[in-house]
């Protein structure tokens, strides 16, 4: 904004202000009504949702899956999607700091006189993009389960084979989940995308024998499950059966 535009703005604003209403009681009435709504929401949430306390902090736990409060989910997800170890400081410190600096300095690089959102296409698009990105990351963060949990519904071709097949499928799902496969592979909504390939539809790509061969003689860095096949062949068979049924 140059000097002329600044003066123009101040003049227009002065006119609008002189035609307005006094803050008290008009704006105060609105603000107070809003305050009542806010308090009603807080009280209702407190009554309905309560103040649930989780189990006591236990630093010796190796089974707990830490998750942040919902409004930090987007930062949490940012840490999950930025995978290469060399970029960790970027995900933890770099990106948030840069975003914050951009936010702080907004009025200093966006100096145009226009204020209407539809006439500021870049700013409005950027704003909507940021809102959508944060919303999407929040959704992903909220949906991220622990790597020891797989909830894939029983496929139709398995459930049509009777209850025994369904039980086998579910047992196999358990074995796969507890073996930590989801730490490197994606299973539908669960698991991490990488370093291993997605296994959501592995049964369609590989026959059961090939899956079994890969589990016994994998290429690095995947571990071999030959120990499992020797110690409990049924669990190993359930694992193979589950993976082969993922189509």
């Amino acid at each position: 904004m140059n000097k002329e535009q600044k003066e123009q703005y101040l003049r227009d604003y002065g006119t609008l202000k002189s035609q307005g209403k006094p803050f008290f009681p008009y704006a105060v009435a609105k603000d107070s009504a809003m305050a009542i709504v806010v308090m009603a929401v807080i009280i209702a949430m407190s009554i309905v949702l309560g103040a649930e306390l989780g189990p006591k902090a236990d630093p010796t736990s190796t089974t707990y899956t830490p998750r942040p409060e919902w409004y930090f989910f987007f930062l949490f997800e940012l840490l999950r999607v930025i995978k290469p170890p060399a970029l960790v400081p970027l995900a933890t410190i770099g990106v948030p700091t840069i975003c914050l600096i951009l936010l702080f300095l907004l009025p200093f690089y966006d100096r145009g006189p226009e204020r209407r959102p539809e006439r500021r296409p870049i700013a409005t698009t950027a704003g909507i993009f940021v809102v959508c990105a944060i919303g999407y990351l929040t959704y992903l963060g909220a949906a991220a389960g622990p790597p020891t949990q797989i909830d894939i519904p029983v496929p139709a071709n398995v459930s049509s084979q009777g209850p025994e097949a369904v039980a086998n499928f579910e047992a196999g799902s358990q074995v796969v989940a507890q073996s930590g496969c989801a730490a490197c592979h994606k299973f539908g909504e669960n698991g991490n995308s990488g370093p291993g390939p997605s296994l959501t539809k592995i049964g369609a790509r590989l026959p059961a024998q090939a899956i079994q061969r890969t589990l016994l003689n994998p290429s690095a860095p995947m571990p071999s499950f030959s120990a499992l096949s020797e110690e409990s062949p049924t669990q190993f068979a359930q694992m193979v059966g589950f993976l082969a049924a993922l189509k």
Binding site: L16, G20, I42, D58, L106, D110, P117
Partner: protein, 270 residues
């Protein structure tokens, strides 16, 4: 030497001079009792001159077209006040020690009268405040309200946003359940990934290389003394600037000069 005539002693020592527009001033004990509020305010105003500032803040004009979006800022402030009050009362029962914190929150939830209710208000109030502050910021952004002459107020607002997030982060260690503990470990380690100063910063936050005996009380001091004080101060400055610069009008409202000043209506004397 001319004698000055003294005014006659009023017949009733409790009668005061009459107010403008009234025939008689307040008289009698009841009359003065009725004026007690005015008298007290006058007494304070005579010694502080606060009424000028108050009049300036309350009777300033708000531009026309102001709508419900403009209540989000005051709603955020209200949520903060609610957090401050419920927080002060929670502090009466809370014990910031690693061995007692969880039990004291359990005591608040299970045994204190209205304990879970106040705790719940504080817990969910934080979510409400975070939502409101984001909505308020979104309104400011999309309405272009951060532009001249309100740049400084935007910067203060972003600082308030950062502090609010700091409050939520430092607050959720305090119940000392599993989520609190691990979220704090992760959060502190995030600070530690900054090169050179990071390791010292995380050690400062934890008061040592591990989560120790004074970590909780450190977070407690940050959560209830340091950051809220700074928030209150900045909020005061934020409000002062709002009152001084005026709230913005919605950007699509055009300024029309008043009717009597329109060019065709102004007659110039020959």
């Amino acid at each position: 030497m001319a004698k000055i005539k003294l005014p006659a002693t009023p017949s009733n020592p409790l009668s005061s001079p009459k107010r403008p527009g009234k025939k008689y001033g307040p008289s009698g004990v009841m009359g003065h009792a009725g004026e007690a509020g005015v008298t007290a305010v006058d007494w304070i105003d005579e010694r502080t001159s606060l009424s000028g500032g108050l009049r300036w803040a309350m009777f300033r004009k708000v531009p026309k077209g102001t709508n419900w979006f403009y209540t989000l800022g005051s709603a955020t402030m209200f949520a903060f006040l609610s957090q401050a009050v419920t927080g002060v009362f929670l502090a009466m029962y809370y014990d910031p020690s690693a061995t007692r914190a969880y039990e004291s929150i359990q005591y608040i939830n299970n045994d204190v009268f209205l304990g879970e209710f106040v705790h719940g208000m504080h817990r969910w109030g934080s979510s409400v405040m975070v939502i409101l502050i984001f909505l308020h910021m979104g309104r400011t952004f999309f309405f272009g309200a951060y532009k001249y002459p309100r740049e400084l107020n935007w910067v203060i607002g972003v600082a308030l946003l950062v502090m609010t997030m700091t409050m939520s982060f430092s607050g959720y260690l305090l119940p000392f359940d599993q989520r609190s503990y691990w979220a704090t470990i992760v959060g502190v380690n995030i600070n530690g990934t900054g090169p050179l100063v990071g390791p010292y910063l995380s050690e400062f936050l934890r008061a040592g290389p591990y989560f120790g005996a004074t970590t909780l009380s450190r977070f407690y001091a940050i959560h209830m003394l340091m950051v809220p004080g700074a928030i209150a101060a900045l909020m005061g400055f934020h409000l002062y600037l709002v009152a001084k610069l005026g709230t913005t009008a919605p950007p699509w409202i055009k300024a029309k000069p008043p009717e009597e000043l329109r060019e065709e209506k102004v007659t110039v004397d020959p």
